[in-house]
């Protein structure tokens, strides 16, 4: 046995027995249940109902990723350069939100966003709207709830990326004659791009397979893949179809994850950021 390998054994046994084997068994089930063949995959990829779910899943994940990146970037930018006393307050808020129970946070958004919720009430009281806005059980609700959950995962790594950029580089750009706008577009943004891409991809991958928040804040008309899989198994007891859908989700996720690893790795290799 190679040197130092022994310590890995308990972890490997655990992960092999209770992760790899069950997942492979699930894969097997997708081509055997109820009978051998690829009919489950054919059904999933051929049927318009399922195509809608796939489309929705990608739509929600894309919208969530774009909004998260747009919101996270300015915050990460400030966190990277603001005085540490001030920054630690903001970091505290981020950690508090991140560590608070997922259901608690989602519950709060359910109450806040509902027809008679605080947000609709406030908007009506100040006369901006006369009838409540549909903020929940639709794309808006899912987006708000998901962006809320994903923001820390985007902000924290991006702070690292931005801190790695030498402020002198931006001073050099200014002295070269670059206006703040030019310096942003030509220097700061390109230098943060590897971090944005890696973080964005991570948010996208996480959003693709998210279950709890879409299930509680989304509507039936824009169901996402994870919820559909859960329903196939739990309510419809259709193991073959559910397994096949799960396997599709697995393949897409792992492929994007591999891409993300390559992005992060490439960033390190060039010594850039």
């Amino acid at each position: 046995m190679p040197a130092g390998f022994g310590g890995l054994l308990p972890a490997l046994i655990l992960v092999t027995l209770f992760f790899v084997v069950p997942v492979l068994a699930l894969l097997l089930r997708s081509v055997t249940g109820p009978e051998p063949g690829f009919q489950n995959y054919a059904t999933l990829l051929g049927d318009g109902t399922y195509a809608r779910v796939f489309f929705n899943t990608f739509l929600v994940a894309s919208v969530v990723t774009i909004v998260t990146v747009l919101v996270a970037f300015p915050v990460a930018w400030m966190l990277a350069i603001m005085p540490s006393a001030l920054a630690s307050i903001v970091f505290g808020v981020i950690i508090l939100s991140m560590w608070t129970n997922l259901l608690t946070r989602t519950y709060a958004w359910m109450v806040l966003l509902q027809r008679t919720g605080v947000i609709n009430r406030t908007l009506m009281d100040i006369g901006l709207i006369s009838t409540p806005l549909p903020l929940i059980n639709n794309l808006t609700g899912v987006t708000i709830g998901m962006v809320y959950i994903m923001l820390p995962f985007m902000i924290l790594p991006l702070v690292g990326t931005l801190r790695a950029i030498d402020p002198m580089t931006l001073r050099a750009a200014a002295l070269c004659g670059a206006s703040p706008f030019d310096a942003f577009c030509r220097i700061l943004l390109p230098l943060s791009l590897p971090g944005i891409a890696a973080g964005g991809l991570m948010v996208f991958v996480m959003s693709l397979g998210y279950f709890v928040t879409p299930a509680l804040l989304g509507g039936t008309s824009n169901m996402m893949l994870a919820e559909m899989i859960a329903q196939m198994i739990q309510s419809l007891l259709n193991w073959g179809l559910g397994s096949a859908a799960a396997f599709i989700l697995l393949v897409v996720t792992m492929a994007l994850y591999a891409l993300q690893l390559r992005l992060v790795g490439a960033g390190r290799a060039t010594g850039g950021v």
Binding site: D166, M168, T169, R171, A172, A173, A174, L175, C176, G177, A178, S179, P180, D182, A183, R186, I187, P190, L191, T270, G271, G272, V273
Partner: protein, 358 residues
């Protein structure tokens, strides 16, 4: 009186309770190579940053051709700068780095292309145009930075310890390059360094900083041969300080008594001294001679150590008063030197010695 090209007027910069720069005033003619020399924390970089617009001075002004620069944001000052750290844009190629200042000035493509080619030729890096900065050595990166800073023909080039991250051999190579480029372009250069040799090799004039003030401004020779203060004498070149007592001063030449009781006349003096006032006499290690001549003063010393330094020897000697001296005669002057004599006389010309307050 003609208007100075660049003028620093009563510049002061305080960070909270700490004042980094006190009242710095300096006029720089066009085309000059001026170096801010001084130990770290002496305010030289802060002064440079105020000119670059990275820091707002607490008071005072910086005028370029009579117009104040302070209200102008950095990106409109049209000043070139090379930094201590490598500040090339890591995601742009060498050519794109050099083109950057021209592109943000929206110059036509043809002009950008021509100028980049000129600049690459100037720093002799034509074959590196398509490389990324990460693939360049430190010296090459600083040459690109120089090309980038000069690409838009700025009237002033600021250099903030640009060679401090390089090894000695490379430093000397790039020093020669900087001198050549200064000659060719005629750009006015403000250069910051803590390395006195670098300052002496490069500059037309040196402003020596100490604790946020300029201690002395002059050519390298001025500072070396005619130091205004003991700080200047100690900072530029090597120096020995001998305890002395001032007897009298006539026409800028003083008579003093050294620790061993010998009286020396005709030493240079800065400032006024009273009779009997304690003082220090500065003599450069190179100013000591092993042979007597008609005007020289003499000291009896005990030789502690002799080391070979190539063109010079370095002698460690001890005076009767127990003070150690650093003496550096030329190797040629040492040919007749008899090493078997532990105690002997060494000589110096009083005109090469300076009296400073104790």
């Amino acid at each position: 009186m003609t208007q100075p090209f660049l003028s620093i007027r009563k510049l002061r910069k305080a960070f909270g309770a700490i004042t980094a720069v006190h009242d710095v005033t300096l006029d720089i003619p066009k085309g000059e190579f001026l170096t801010f020399l001084g130990p770290s924390g002496s305010g030289k970089s802060t002064t440079l940053y105020a000119i670059a617009g990275f820091q707002d001075p607490s008071s005072g002004d910086v005028l370029l051709q009579g117009k104040s620069l302070l209200a102008v944001p950095s990106h409109k000052r049209n000043i070139g700068m090379v930094f201590q750290r490598y500040t090339l844009f890591p995601h742009l190629t060498v050519a794109d780095n050099i083109a950057f200042p021209l592109r943000v000035r929206r110059r036509p493509d043809a002009e950008v292309k021509r100028k980049v080619a000129d600049m690459l030729a100037m720093v002799r890096l034509e074959s590196f145009a398509a490389r990324l900065p990460g693939a360049l050595s430190g010296g090459q990166q600083q040459r690109v930075a120089l090309a980038r800073a000069l690409a838009y023909d700025p009237p002033i080039l600021l250099m903030d310890e640009p060679l401090s991250a390089l090894d000695k051999k490379l430093r000397e190579e790039i020093q020669a390059e900087i001198r050549r480029i200064h000659r060719e372009t005629g750009v006015t250069i403000l250069y910051v360094t803590h390395d006195q040799e670098e300052a002496l090799h490069l500059s037309d004039r040196i402003a020596l900083f100490r604790d946020g003030r300029i201690e002395q401004t002059g050519t390298g020779e001025d500072l070396y041969l005619r130091p205004a203060t003991d700080f200047v004498a100690g900072f530029i070149g090597n120096s020995n300080f001998l305890a002395a007592e001032h007897l009298e001063t006539i026409d800028g030449a003083a008579t003093i008594r050294l620790g061993d009781g010998s009286v020396v006349s005709g030493v240079n003096v800065n400032g006024t001294f009273g009779k009997g006032q304690r003082a220090r006499l500065m003599v450069r290690p190179e100013a000591f001679r092993m042979e007597r001549n008609p005007t020289s003063a003499e000291l009896t010393v005990e030789i502690v150590d002799v080391a070979f330094y190539g063109e010079r020897r370095r002698i460690v000697a001890r005076t009767a008063a127990g003070q150690e001296l650093d003496i550096r005669p030329t190797t040629a002057a040492m040919e007749t030197y008899n090493s078997s004599l532990p105690r002997r006389q060494v000589f110096f010309d009083p005109a090469a010695a300076f009296l400073f307050p104790a």
